[in-house]
Each structure stands twice: as C-alpha cells, then as structure tokens.
C-alpha cells in the first residue's frame, strides 16, 4: 500500500537569462536553501535527494554526484532522474515514490538548468535518433510548428488565437517575482509583430532559455501534517512516454500522451469534469499553440474549442480555471526545472503561498510536464488528504 505523500515546501531561484554570479552547483544550492526555509527544515532533516536536468545543456556527466555540495547529497542517498523536458515532473514523481514506498520520510526533489552555458538548439537536436531523425526533422521548433499548422488547418485557429495565449502567459508573469519575464510585459500586437521562426511560430509564441533551479520537499503523511499548516497532497501521478520517433506522432489528433496520462490520473483522483474540478492549472506549455490544443486534450473544453475557451477568459486570473498564474514555461524555461516548477507552482497555489499570483481558495490543482518525443506527465495535487 502506498503511503500518502504531500509537498510541504518549495524554493526557486529568481530566474534569469544568465546567472554569471554562480556556477551550476551554487545555483542549485540557492533553490534548495529556499525550499528548506519554506518548510523550516535543515538539510540534516532530509532523508534522500532526487535531481534532474538535461546532460548536454551544461555537459556535466552524472549531475547527481557532481552536485552533492549544492544539492545537499553529501552522505545521503541521491539519484538522478532525467527524461528531457519532462525531467522536472519525472523528478517530482520519483520523489513521490521515494516517500510513498515507505523508504524515506522527507525527500528533496531538484530540477535545474543553466541554459546560458550552451547552445540550446545545438543540444536539443541531438535528442533525435542519429540514424533516422537527427539530420532531417529535429530540434524543438520544427515538430511543434508541424503540430501548430495541423491544428490551424483542422479547426481554423489563427496566429491571433495563439498570440492570445502568449499574452496571458506574459501578463500572468508580471505577478510572479521569480519569473524570467517578470517586469517585461508584452501587448498582443507586439507578439503578433515578433519575427517568424518557423511558420506559424513567432518569437513571441515560444519559451525563452533560462538559468534557474527549483527544489521541492516531499514528506510522508505524519511528517507533513506536523510540519505544514496546509500541505499540498499528491492525489495522482501518471506518465506516458510513448513515441520513439518524431514521425510516429499523428498531429491530426489531440496530444495522445497527454490524453492517456490525464485519463489515468483523473480516474485515480476522481476528476470528472476537469474545468470545474480543478481550481488552477500549471501546464507545461512550451509554445502558445499548445495553450489552444492541449487544454482540449486535458478535457477543459471539446476538440477545436480551445481558441474560444481562451478568448472567453476562462484561463485568465479570475476565470473558471486560471492557467499558469506563474506565467508558465513561456515566461521561464530552465529546462530541467521547468516541469518541477509546474508542480511547485501548483503546490504553492494549494498551500496558499502564491502572493500576487495566488488564485483564491484552491482545493485541487493540476500540473503537467511535456518533453521528449511528445511525452506527457500529469500530477494532481489537493488540499484534502487523499482517501
């Protein structure tokens, strides 16, 4: 029987395009210290550490052993979990199982990236199969652009619809002092007028490259109830990393991995009507068109209804289901930390610690991860202890 697990503390750096004042290990340490301070623990209290990033962004082989001084792994169990863009949710889910298994009571999950240290695209193209995809259809933007144009073709969605998503993310980021794009608002016209990268994706439609780290403390039921006034309980996790080749993905349908992961997690958490049952969602939306289509895959609205749902303001602060009060991935993208930030931000909402970005009275929150070859992770958090 799995034990009940809750998040009791989170910490993150003030995300920036470049952090020259710290090396990677030192940047990790900053986030860890903030997470420990958030739940009033010290590193001595932590039983195990899980860490993740993407190797080729900093060219550090075996980040778990390299990081111990900053991650707190000295004379502790530490392991590295890494799955590309989904790394952050994979790390969170691993920390969940560390505790749920009964092996550890207090576990630290860390995601980080110093994207300033390399050529992000140069690294990411090597995720494609070296024999089949690397020289023909590789990197993040081409396959996303393919999805976007297929979606536009099928439902008549426009570049303006996508820009409305980008506007929401950038507007929300102004409430989040940690966001990379904090203090840098954009208008709808500025997004629409930004340079075209790969049709139909413009600069204003895509996530930035960020230096940053996130840390989250997971605790067993008795510890969580003792330490946290309002723990964020993990109600369900589900993962689908289904495709191995980019060409296998049918872009004419919904995001299949997300549909499957959501179906499993919703069943486990008793979610029947997501747009009503969730009070807030922190979604891994690497580009604006995902904000139209993937909310359909999550069942917030029907197929093709994404643009209307967005224009109706349902996903804005004060809407039916505010999406990404933090500003999301399009406002902060330290890749190994990005999906963990979704979980951390969802936990912050449940714990009521969101400050200017807090959605009132959050009972149930959704976090997702996206990465790899069109892979999806889903984590559901709640204020009520799971049955």
């Amino acid at each position: 029987m799995a034990r009940r697990v809750a998040i009791i503390g989170t910490g993150q750096t003030h995300h920036r395009s470049q952090r020259r004042d710290v090396n990677g290990r030192e940047m990790i340490h900053e986030a860890v210290q903030r997470a420990l301070a958030d739940c009033e623990l010290t590193m001595r209290d932590i039983d195990a550490v899980v860490i993740g990033n993407m190797d080729h962004f900093e060219a550090i082989n075996s980040v778990d052993t390299w990081s111990v001084e900053g991650s707190g792994g000295v004379m502790k169990p530490i392991m590295k979990v890494t799955t590309g863009g989904t790394t952050g949710t994979s790390v969170a889910i691993a920390a969940y199982y560390h505790v749920a298994s009964g092996m550890f009571d207090k576990v630290l999950a860390i995601g980080w990236e110093k994207n300033s240290e390399s050529d992000t695209t140069g690294a990411i193209v090597t995720c494609s199969d070296p024999i089949w995809d690397r020289y023909s259809y590789s990197g993040a933007i081409p396959s996303l652009a393919t999805e976007a144009s297929a979606y536009m073709e099928k439902y008549g969605a426009t570049q303006r619809d996508a820009a409305r998503v980008a506007l929401r993310e950038r507007t929300h980021a102004q409430n989040n002092p940690y966001a990379h794009m904090h203090g840098r608002p954009l208008t709808l016209d500025e997004i629409l007028d930004s340079p075209m990268l790969a049709y139909p994706i413009k600069l204003g439609d895509i996530c930035p490259r960020t230096d940053g780290a996130a840390a989250v403390v997971f605790a067993a039921e008795d510890v969580a109830e003792k330490l946290a006034p309002r723990p964020a309980w993990i109600k369900a996790t589900a993962v689908r990393h289904t495709y191995s080749w980019f060409g296998d993905v049918d872009q004419r349908t919904g995001l299949e991995s997300l549909e499957r992961a959501a179906r499993e997690a919703y069943a486990a958490a008793g979610i029947k009507n997501p747009a009503e049952d969730f009070d807030v969602a922190e979604l891994y939306l690497p580009y604006s068109y995902a904000g139209l289509k993937w909310i359909e895959s999550l069942g917030f609205c029907g197929p093709g209804q994404g643009p209307q749902f967005i224009w109706d303001g349902h996903t804005d602060m004060g809407g039916k289901i505010p999406v990404n009060p933090s500003g999301g991935v399009m406002s902060t993208n330290c890749i190994g930390a990005t999906a963990l930030l979704r979980v951390a931000e969802a936990a912050i909402q449940v714990m009521g610690k969101g400050g200017a970005r807090q959605v009132p009275d959050v009972k149930t929150a959704l976090a997702t991860g996206f990465g790899g070859c069109w892979w999806s992770d889903v984590v559901i958090l709640g204020k009520e202890k799971p049955a």
């Binding site: 004042d21 340490h29 010290t42 900093e58 060219a59 001084e69 900053g70 240290e117 390399s118 050529d119």
Partner: protein, 154 residues
C-alpha cells in the same frame, strides 16, 4: 543460427556531438582564479561552522550546508605534501601534456582538503609524503592550469 550480416551489409554511421560550452565560474570561483592569474596566489576559504579550509574555495560547505561568504578567505600553499599520486602512461587527447606525467592530490599548507593537480617530472623522488611547490605558468588566463604544475622539493 544464420547471421543476418551474411545477407545484408551491416552499416555504421559516424557522428559527433561537438558543442561549445561557456561555464559560469561564479563569484567564489572567480575570486580564486583571478588570484591565480593576477597574483600567483592560491586562495582558500573556511567554513564558519566546521572550520574546514577548502581549496578551491566554496560558496557553501557541503557537509554543513551553510554559506561560507567572503569574510574568511586566506592564502594557502604554494607548498604542500603529496597524499596520493599516479604516473600516467596511457595517453589521450584531453590530457594537458604528453605522457608520462603525474597526477597528485596535494595537501597544501594551511588547507584541510586535498588539491588535485599535475607534476611534470621528478618521478624517481615521487612518493606520498614528499613536499611539493606550485609553479605558475608565464601566460595565465584565469584557469586551473595557470598553475603550470607542482615541483618536488628535495
């Protein structure tokens, strides 16, 4: 069992991940490397909690998990004692000099942890416990190899 390679040519493809990286050294490491470059000094810092003197200096102590700060910095070395060594015979392109050469862990005078660096010659006298001294390079660029190597003192 028949081998498929009898029926079709087994191809291999060559590839290389070749990427430039720019690692941030950070404030703590920059103070250390700038001192190597500009003053030919080896700096260390001391953990305020456990008192360990670290070289290279650290922003935080991994054991105490506490910030070290910039107050308690000191110069260590340039002499020290070899606590472990190896003479390298097998060459590879990432080595900074031709084989044979030696790596050593050196307990610099004033430091509490070992410092890994290279020795270029003097093998016949190399053993654990021998005293060595840092020799700085003439051209220095703010890198760990601004110390050209350590020399054995008789």
């Amino acid at each position: 069992m028949s081998d498929w390679r009898d029926e079709v040519e087994a191809l291999t493809l060559k590839g290389q991940i070749k990427m430039p990286y720019t690692w941030s050294v950070g404030e703590t490491g920059s103070r250390f490397l700038v001192a190597l470059r500009d003053e030919q000094k080896i700096l260390a810092n001391r953990c305020p909690l456990c008192g360990t003197v670290y070289v290279p200096p650290r922003k935080n102590c991994g054991t105490c998990f506490a910030d070290i700060g910039t107050d308690d910095w000191l110069e260590v070395g340039p002499e020290g004692v070899v606590t472990a060594f190896t003479i390298i015979h097998q060459a590879h392109p990432l080595q900074p000099l031709a084989t044979p050469f030696a790596y050593a862990i050196i307990q610099l005078d004033g430091a509490d942890v070992g410092f890994v660096h290279i020795l270029k010659d003097g093998w016949d006298r190399l053993k654990n416990g021998v005293r060595v001294r840092a020799k700085f390079g003439i051209e220095r660029n703010g890198r760990i190899l601004d110390i050209d190597g350590f020399e054995i003192l008789t």
